[in-house]
């Protein structure tokens, strides 16, 4: 087993949200630890591996080995949250598929921004289904396998029904009488309406 201070050092550097200075490490490691020696030893373990222990500006951090960048197409990028409009549209397609664009708008009660469906198609969550056999033969929309993957569902049948949503508290947020005096829930959702008007993508 690796000596205790080195294990701890390794765990600290792994879990830290930012590079740590020797001073930071001093505060967190047992008193009397030879930090310099421990860092050298740890750096030795990672020699030639997929991960390296780097010193940048007097601070220490693990990084994936620079030569692997190409192979991994490594890029720093924060994951993004889909817009509210996109999520709502996606939810409607999921629950009401196959569903036409007019129906989506009718259910949402807001005109659907052109980009919203485009976004869902590009994300790979929604695809065109059959045309409806009604005048104008409108195109319908359905969800894809990759939609199921994203939300860890095995089948579209596994979406909770309305009664399930109700029971789990997701559907009905009507203020019960006991909340009236304490919180402003009853009159508050004014801001929610503002939010809806702006269909940001």
């Amino acid at each position: 087993m690796t000596p205790a201070p080195i294990r701890l050092l390794e765990a600290l550097l792994f879990a830290a949200a930012e590079p740590l200075s020797v001073k930071d490490l001093h505060e967190r490691l047992p008193e009397g630890t030879d930090i310099g020696a421990a860092l050298m030893a740890l750096q030795g373990y990672y020699e030639g591996r997929g991960v390296v222990l780097n010193e940048i500006d007097g601070k220490w951090a693990f990084r994936t080995a620079p030569d692997l960048g190409d192979a991994l197409k490594l890029e720093r990028e924060a994951s993004k949250k889909p817009s509210r409009a996109a999520l709502e549209t996606l939810a409607i397609v999921a629950y009401h598929q196959p569903v036409t664009r007019a129906e989506i708008e009718n259910i949402r009660g807001v005109a659907t921004h052109r980009g919203t469906l485009d976004f869902l198609i590009e994300a790979g969550w929604v695809k065109p289904g059959r045309r409806r056999e009604t005048p104008g033969k409108p195109l319908t929309w359905v969800t894809t396998t990759s939609f199921l993957d994203q939300f860890c569902l095995e089948s579209i049948m596994d979406l909770p029904g309305l009664d399930d949503l109700k029971a789990s508290g997701l559907l009905d947020r009507r203020p019960a009488i006991e909340v009236i005096p304490s919180s402003g829930d009853l009159f508050a959702p004014a801001d929610r309406l503002d939010e809806e008007e702006t269909e940001d993508m």
């Binding site: 930012e18 197409k73 490594l74 889909p82 939300f151 559907l171 009507r174």
Partner: protein, 273 residues
């Protein structure tokens, strides 16, 4: 004199203790997750393995609990009363000899089912406790603090959880419901109404000199109120009106101790119209 053994059931020796337990449970009734939870707690007081529990004693303990609630004028949720009815039935079945050829489930089976219910709930409560003792990510065990992400060649990683999706749908449905949703109408007495009523009635009180006689707060409340909520709101609104009039220096208010009646009397010169 009738032999006490005949009525043994009506004079359980555990009565004193049971009342004590019942009160302790009633004090913390909000801390319990329904009647089964309360039953489980009562069962624990028997200090035996749940598989050896006396169901008859347990039924008695629970019925004492419900009786105490009634005696203390506490409102128990309907589910507590349903359980009481079921246990009372079970108790009678356990005490009476089984009718031959009866189609109802045997008392022993019912008792066994109850015991299973309690053991299973206890097991799950213990399991919940054990889950809490497991090391937790972000508390005892940590993930990489500075993650680097690798985009798949096709698209960005979208951070949308299943919850987000359900919530989005819930929001839409709710919006639709809300469009035709009427706020529930509660029949309440408003403070203005109470003020109007109290002022009017004060003027009709018998007086001695500048002051009227002391009159209880309750006498200002309309009689024959059937609606409990309306009654409570009337009491609150009338008290509020009283306090406001005290502030204006028009009346005095008095209470001789906690939970004693509240009296009002008019003090000011009556305004001449």
């Amino acid at each position: 004199m009738i032999s006490p053994s005949v009525f043994q059931e009506d004079h359980p020796r555990v009565a004193e203790d049971s009342v004590h337990e019942a009160d302790a449970l009633l004090l913390d009734i909000d801390g319990y997750e329904g009647p089964t939870d309360v039953l489980l707690e009562l069962a624990r007081t028997q200090k035996v393995d749940l598989s050896k529990i006396s169901i008859l004693q347990l039924a008695r303990q629970y019925l004492v609990f419900v009786e105490r609630a009634k005696a203390l004028n506490l409102d128990l949720a309907a589910e507590y009363l349903v359980m009481a009815a079921w246990l009372a039935y079970l108790k009678s079945r356990l005490l009476l000899p089984r009718e031959p050829g009866g189609e109802e489930p045997g008392a022993a089976e019912m008792a066994e089912a109850l015991q299973f219910q309690l053991r299973r709930l206890e097991a799950m409560q213990n399991a919940a406790g054990k889950l809490q003792t497991l090391p937790r990510l972000g508390q005892d065990v940590f993930a990489r603090g500075m993650p680097e992400t690798f985009p798949v060649t096709t698209a960005t990683r979208w951070d949308a959880s299943f919850y987000d999706l359900l919530k989005a749908y819930g929001d839409i449905r709710r919006r639709r419901e809300n469009s035709s949703y009427d706020l529930p109408v509660f029949n309440l007495m408003s403070a203005d109404e109470a003020m109007e009523r109290v002022t009017r009635m004060l003027g009709q009180l018998p007086r001695t000199g500048l002051k009227s006689v002391w009159t209880t707060l309750e006498s200002f409340i309309p009689e024959d109120i059937r609606d409990k909520i309306f009654g409570r709101s009337a009491l609150a609104a009338t008290l509020l009106a009283g306090l406001e009039l005290v502030k204006q220096g028009r009346i005095e208010i008095r209470q001789d101790g906690l939970f004693r009646p509240v009296y009002l009397r008019e003090t000011s010169e009556r305004e001449t119209p």
